[in-house]
Symmetry: C2
Subunit: 438 residues, 2 copies
């Protein structure tokens, strides 16, 4: 790990106003150690770029282009965030520490306590509020594990908008309870590949593609938006405005650790698109600049979609339909075969360009984990703390357990902070298959 040589990091102290919800988002882009590679569109007449500008919310495009490090959170959104239970708790996993016999302190940032059970709601509330203020009544989006779709359905029910959600078929099938909840909240759910887009019909006719993927669902949602001008397209990962929204996680964590008088040694998050990771870690980038190797960032990914550990850093489309412009990031290639795991939130071929820059600058330690091992870690946490977390979050947990055991071997009172991105309430089928039936 190198210490970045520039010093244009975000200020160490971001104002955290009453009642504990940050007053500003932190934009990670101005403080990145390398410039963000531009989005590229080689299509005739820049069709894809124009399409994005046409189907996206204007305020989100403006946020993507914002060059300020600190961006005021609109008052209505701050109230929304307080109403969904922000700030989320930072809890210490003392029972897990005891079971591991480690001198390390393990802290959990509890995004699982949000009413939809995942961090995705932070951006969904902000985007749906923006849509309402722009006068949009209909929204379309995609979802992988269903956490983003659930968050959008919740936010739309709360603010009175109507969402259509393309959901990767494998997860839509695995998570029957979450599927029911989306419909009860008034969302229109389309299992992807669906029959309502040309892309869905074409891909759906290939028997090897019936499980779908996040990339396919993105392609369907973008095509749907292109054909329905009254509908705005929103998304829950990868793009800058989502990572900006998610900075509330890290800003709160930083303030909570400071209130406890604790300085972190290692921050850990799972990585799919990258929004929980960057939202959690970006507020600590300035500490990293000052402390160098004394503060480490660990990214935990699924061994079945090992973008950071085995992918290439190059330009690629993030959707299977190639309807979006190309971005530079770590990618497995969009024809990479994604096995049907229970880790829908990490099951994608590429990720955020911001994660790409951070990893390329050697700020992240990336580790890839097998499904059976991460479920075992989740079960250990359930037995120790009676907290059931999402399999995606279990990747970060397992990395945290490794760190705690390493601290035990080294006899170090290391401070480990893990982002628990979501709850496992809708993942019991996976726990049954990988823990009970083993």
């Amino acid at each position: 790990m190198s210490t970045p040589s520039n010093n244009v990091w975000a200020p160490a102290q971001v104002p955290v106003g009453e009642p504990g919800v940050p007053t500003h988002w932190l934009n990670p882009i101005p403080s990145l150690p390398e410039p963000l590679p531009p989005v590229v569109d080689d299509s005739e007449d820049q069709y894809r770029m124009k399409l994005q500008r046409r189907i996206r919310l204007q305020s989100m495009l403006a946020l993507d282009a914002d060059t300020n490090s600190l961006i005021p959170i609109p008052e209505a959104v701050r109230e929304d965030l307080a109403n969904i239970g922000r700030p989320t708790p930072l809890t210490r996993a003392r029972a897990l520490e005891r079971r591991l016999g480690t001198p390390a302190q393990i802290y959990l940032k509890r995004e699982d306590t949000l009413p939809t059970g995942a961090f995705k709601l932070n951006s969904a509330m902000a985007q749906v509020r923006a849509a309402k203020e722009e006068g949009a009544e209909r929204l379309v989006t995609e979802t992988g594990a269903g956490q983003w779709g659930h968050a959008v359905a919740f936010a739309c029910a709360r603010l009175g908008l109507h969402p259509t959600i393309f959901w990767a078929a494998i997860s839509a099938r695995q998570k029957a309870s979450r599927h029911a909840l989306l419909e009860l909240l008034g969302a229109r759910v389309e299992s992807s590949p669906s029959s309502v887009t040309e892309l869905g019909r074409r891909v759906g006719s290939d028997p090897t593609m019936v499980n779908g993927s996040l990339g396919l669902a993105i392609g369907e949602a973008v095509e749907y938006a292109a054909g329905h001008p009254e509908t705005r397209y929103i998304s829950g990962s990868n793009v800058p405005h989502v990572l900006i929204h998610q900075s509330v996680i890290g800003l709160e964590t930083k303030a909570q650790l400071a209130a406890l008088g604790v300085s972190p040694d290692v921050l850990i998050a799972c990585v799919g698109g990258g929004s929980n990771l960057v939202g959690f870690m970006a507020p600590f980038f300035d500490d990293k600049a000052a402390r160098g190797d004394d503060l480490r960032f660990v990214a935990a990914e699924a061994a079945t979609s090992p973008r950071l550990t085995k992918g290439r850093y190059e330009y690629d489309y993030s959707d299977l339909g190639c309807n979006t412009p190309m971005v530079k990031s770590y990618t497995l290639g969009r024809d990479y075969e994604l096995p049907p795991t229970h880790v829908g939130g990490l099951r994608q071929h590429s990720g955020s360009p911001i994660v790409g820059v951070v990893h390329h600058a050697d700020l992240l330690e990336a580790r890839a984990y097998e499904e059976k091992d991460i479920f075992a870690a989740g079960h250990a946490l359930l037995m120790a703390e009676q907290i059931l977390i999402a399999p995606e979050s279990c990747h970060a947990l397992l990395a945290g357990i490794e760190e705690a055991l390493e601290a035990k071997r080294a006899g170090e009172a290391r401070v480990i902070v893990i982002c628990v991105s979501g709850s496992g309430t809708h993942d019991l089928e996976g726990y049954v298959e990988k823990v009970i039936k083993q």
Copy 2:
């Protein structure tokens, strides 16, 4: 509704210490408007009474016999209650009020926010803590909807005990996700009728009894405890110590309303065994004595097990095996056929003798509701407030909606306080069947 003539109610102000968890439980028995009818055992040599004394925890028998109105909560239990998130929030359902166009204020006491999603955890933590202090390592119990079983599994995992749980077959089948969670928490789950007790084998051979019931599960658990002397029997409803434990709900609610400067006009709870109802309402009995008809108590039950609206007030066994002594309460008779509904928590033939006295003294307005109507009420709350509550709690909600609409007709700014006994996270199958498929 008559105003009780005696004035030996509990004191109006119970000390609520930091951090907001009550310092004392409120024992409703000394303040009841009529003496509690004694438990009766006509068996030879009082076999059933002796069995109860042998299989129960000593500290719970002592609590049942305690004649004090205020009973100090042991410090370890107060810590346990704080650690599970007590006090639970009292929230106002403003969006629901707006949709109903009512001048009434609707408050929700949010027991659904506890980590197992139901009020049952209040007593489970207290009982499992007591078991640990008595040196018991193995516990056996029964559960209807699964909320009590879930709470016991959670508390046992937390404190290191080993539970066996007899679970009414119909709910064990309906709630696959909760079933998985109990097993993941380390509990041994027996679907009732089971093959491990004589009662279970006998009843299980009758094809009309395969759905089981709470009464059958009680009978199996008691028989199991009788045959396993190293195992203590605990239960989550009906008996006095459980109703005493649940007084934290009402004590907190009273303190929270006082802090808001709000005086309730009507308190509403669903009623199965009666512990959430009595725990919620008992701390307001003294106000009722002072205010008479200006403060009303509403008990909402299932039309398919209408004990208070159609039952008889007489002695009966609470278990199908007749292994427990007889208590006087409102009962449908233990051979009453309970249809296979999604409302496992209210699906029983008899209830608590304390509820019996309160209802017999005409302090409760009892109302019975149909399953399709209570699910529609639950869906209305989900759309308005994005809160998914248990079908049992939906009975109280529906009564609250009726009160709010009545207040609208009367033009009254009535204050309605509803006990939300549990979350609907594990009841989505019922919502799908009764809302989506209708």
